[in-house]
Each structure stands twice: as C-alpha cells, then as structure tokens.
C-alpha cells in the first residue's frame, strides 16, 4: 500500500523533486488513493444478492409465480445443475416460472432467473429449457445488470452501495431507487453485446451440464417463426437483438467447437411429463 501511495504521490508530484521523500504530503496522497478506491469499488456479493432480491421481488410484483410447485421444483433443478458448472456455483440460485403469457426470460443480480409460462409453452424438451436458463445464468455470471446500473443514471447510488454507504435491511430509500432502476432495466434491455455474449456462454454451459447444446438455437428458431406483430413478443423484440442475427452469430461459433457434444440428451420425455403436454 505504501508503495502505491508513494508512486501516486510521485505521479501527482507537484513540483517537488521525486526523490526528495521529505517533501511528500502523505495525508494528501492517502486521500487521493481513497478517492480512486471509492470510485472503483465493486459491489460485494452480499450487496449484489440483496439488490437482486429486491429486483426479483419487484418483478414478481409485475408477474406472479405460476402456481405449479412440481414445475417450479423441476425448473430449479435444471437451473441449479447448470449453475453448478459455472464459476459462481455457490450463489444462492433461484429459478421461477412466471404466470404470464408474454414470451420472455429475465435474470437479476445475485442469481435470480425467471422464465415466463409463454416461453416455456413453446419449448420441446429439457435441453431447450437448459439453453434459455444458461443464457440468463450467463448474465448473472458476467454481472451485466450491475454494469448497466453502474453506467446508468443511478451510478452514484451504485457507488454508495459499493462503499457501504447504503445500509441494507434498513429501508434505505436509495436502495429502493436502485431496485426500481434495476426493474426498469427489463423494459429497456441490456447492451446487444451482453446478449450475444450470453448466447455464446449459454450454449457452452448447456454442453457442460451434459445437454444437447443446440437447445438455445432451437428456441431462437421457434421464436423466429412467431408473427412479429404478436404482442407477447413486443418486449422481447424491444430489448433483444433480432433472432436472425443471434442465430447467424451463434451458428458458425458452435460448429465445429461443440460438435463433440451433439449426442448428449435433450430429455424430451422428462420435459413432456412435467409440462404435461396433452396432444
């Protein structure tokens, strides 16, 4: 630490002779370091989970959980198994099916992942579910939502949160504002590049978990066939790059890299049994 202060002091070194240690203002240098540290402070994992829980609660205020415990348990097992194959396997992962006909899926910081009934109903097998959950898990792994908040209008509050200036559990109004901003992000969407990155990571995570890696592209292909005027897709279209583009980018990356995993199961029958498909 002393070395950093020293070199900073030298950089900022007014007109003093850099080798004249006697003239260094240690107090001033330490303050500069503190300031730099503050601006770059990262939200800790407990803070991330707290914020994510707040955002998840708001999202559940917008769309309720589907009242189907066996299905909720099933989706949690698929999701948790995938999460175990990642660099953040110890997060308290939670997965939920929303009782909403909209076609969408959401992730919140700290390991909260949601999928709508409308999207689930359009899937054919467990590998497709795994692909979508893996895409959302990737947003959490890469902290895409946290970064979006740090870049957005609430960036000062994010700095306060990172610096422990916001007291959790105390009903701090600033935390509520961050939760609102985090929930509104779902209406605006992330950077396109974040979506493409999550696509690339999602297919790999599905393969790591032992699934057919083509579940995610298969879902994108299904959604591509839905009439773009369908109102259930309105938010998805507004907040995500087009399905054509996503498939166009994924295809060449997946083959030959993932060719060796093509024989992994898609578990269509286990999925059909849980969804209760009656044809």
């Amino acid at each position: 630490m002393r070395a950093i202060i020293l070199s900073l002091a030298m950089l900022l070194g007014s007109n003093a002779n850099a080798f004249d240690f006697g003239s260094i203002d240690w107090d001033k240098a330490a303050k500069v370091v503190q300031k730099v540290k503050k601006a770059n402070a990262e939200v800790s994992e407990p803070q991330e989970i707290e914020l994510g829980g707040g955002i998840a609660s708001s999202l559940l205020g917008a769309a309720p959980l589907l009242d189907n415990p066996p299905l909720q348990n099933y989706v949690n097992r698929v999701g948790r198994w995938i999460a175990l194959q990642t660099e953040r396997s110890d997060l308290p992962w939670h997965f939920g099916v929303l009782d909403d006909p909209d076609i969408n899926a959401f992730a919140a910081p700290g390991g909260y992942v949601f999928i709508t009934k409308g999207l689930l109903a359009r899937m054919n097998n467990e590998a497709e579910l795994a692909g979508v959950l893996a895409h959302e898990i990737s947003h959490v792994l890469r902290k895409h939502h946290l970064q979006a908040l740090q870049k957005g209008a609430r960036r000062e509050l994010m700095t306060d949160l990172a610096n422990d200036a916001i007291k959790s559990h105390g009903g701090d109004e600033r935390l509520n504002k961050l939760v609102s901003a985090g929930t509104e992000l779902y209406a605006r969407g992330l950077d396109k590049d974040d979506e493409f990155e999550s696509d690339r990571m999602g297919v790999v995570l599905a393969a790591r978990a032992g699934y057919d890696p083509y579940g995610l592209p298969a879902v994108l292909q299904t959604l591509q066939s839905i009439n773009p005027a369908d109102s259930n897709l309105a938010l998805m279209f507004k907040t995500h790059p087009g399905f054509d583009k996503r498939l166009e980018l994924l295809g060449p990356l997946m083959s030959p890299a993932l060719d060796g995993f093509e024989d992994q199961p898609d578990l269509d029958r286990r999925f059909a049994a849980v969804i209760g498909i009656q044809k």
Binding site: N104, D268, Q278
Partner: protein, 164 residues
C-alpha cells in the same frame, strides 16, 4: 388419441416427431441420409425450398421435401411463420390446467400486473412471492441427483471466444 399416445410411447417416438411443422431452406442445403456430416448426400435443396419438419436431433433436423426424406443442418432452415403456434397452444393449455388444479386457490389479479414496459416501471415489490420462490430452490445434492436421473454427465468445455 389415447391409442396414438400409447403407440408413440411404446415405440419410443418423441412427441414432437409427429407434429410436423412447415419450414423453408434459407440457403442451398445438402439433404443427408443420416444426421452426420459424412453421411450420404441424397440431394441438394435450393434456397427457399419448402419442407416439412419431422424431428430435430441436436444440430440436425429431419425433414420431408417432396419425395425426399432426410436430414439437413438445423440452422439452414427457417420455420414458417406460425409453425410453432400449435405447440404453444398445447403447452399453454396444459400449463393452465395444471396450474388451476394445483390447489392453493390463489387468486390472480388481472389487468394491473404484467410485463409491459409501463407495468415494469410501476412494479411494486411482492415479498411473499419472493419467499415462495425461495422455497422452490434446489440445493447442490438435489441438482446432482436430478442430473444423474437424467443421465446428464458434466463435461469440461471452454467458453467460445467472441468474434467479428
């Protein structure tokens, strides 16, 4: 209908196998006898050929194109608009039925809630729902047992580097 279902299960035919969906090729595409790159090429379908989707297996889709039946790369197809609609209707119907017979008798308030932009902006927290969500969480052992039941085996796979 029930008989058909039993028949399908008995012969191990996947449910999606007989729900043929219309699609067309988005580029000239080789039709293979089997779902492998080195399988025999039966024909080359020009771009915009209309086909019927029979089933998908990983990156391959089995199709019927006129007299021909065989496998093409999944990503050389685009499903016709509305092709997946029937599946969605079936899925939604069953999810709705299961949900209704689920038993907790929860009433759903409609009209106020939803995932539109406006509704997301005005969303109010629902701590009770969050607690319910937490009850469904799977722990590490649950997940591992579930994976073993499905014969899912964890693999080492590196992330794919982005390009462009």
């Amino acid at each position: 209908m029930k008989k058909l279902l039993v028949w399908c299960c008995a012969f191990g035919i996947s449910m999606s196998a007989w729900a043929a969906e219309e699609a067309y090729t988005i580029r000239a595409t080789e039709l293979k006898s089997r779902p492998y790159g080195d399988a025999q090429t039966l024909a080359t379908l020009p771009a915009r050929s209309k086909v019927l989707v029979l089933q998908r297996r990983s990156s391959w889709t089995e199709i019927r194109a006129g007299e021909n039946k065989g496998w093409v790369k999944m990503l050389s197809l685009q499903l016709a608009q509305g092709a997946a609609q029937r599946r969605a209707e079936n899925g939604l119907r069953s999810l709705f039925n299961v949900a209704r017979s689920g038993g907790s008798g929860a009433t759903v308030t409609t009209g106020v809630r939803g995932l539109s932009e406006e509704q997301l902006k005005n969303a109010q927290p629902d701590p009770a729902a969050l607690r319910e969500l937490e009850r469904y969480a799977a722990n590490r052992r649950d997940a591992q047992r579930f994976a073993a039941d499905g014969k899912l085996r964890a693999q080492r796979v590196d992330y794919l580097a982005g390009e462009q």
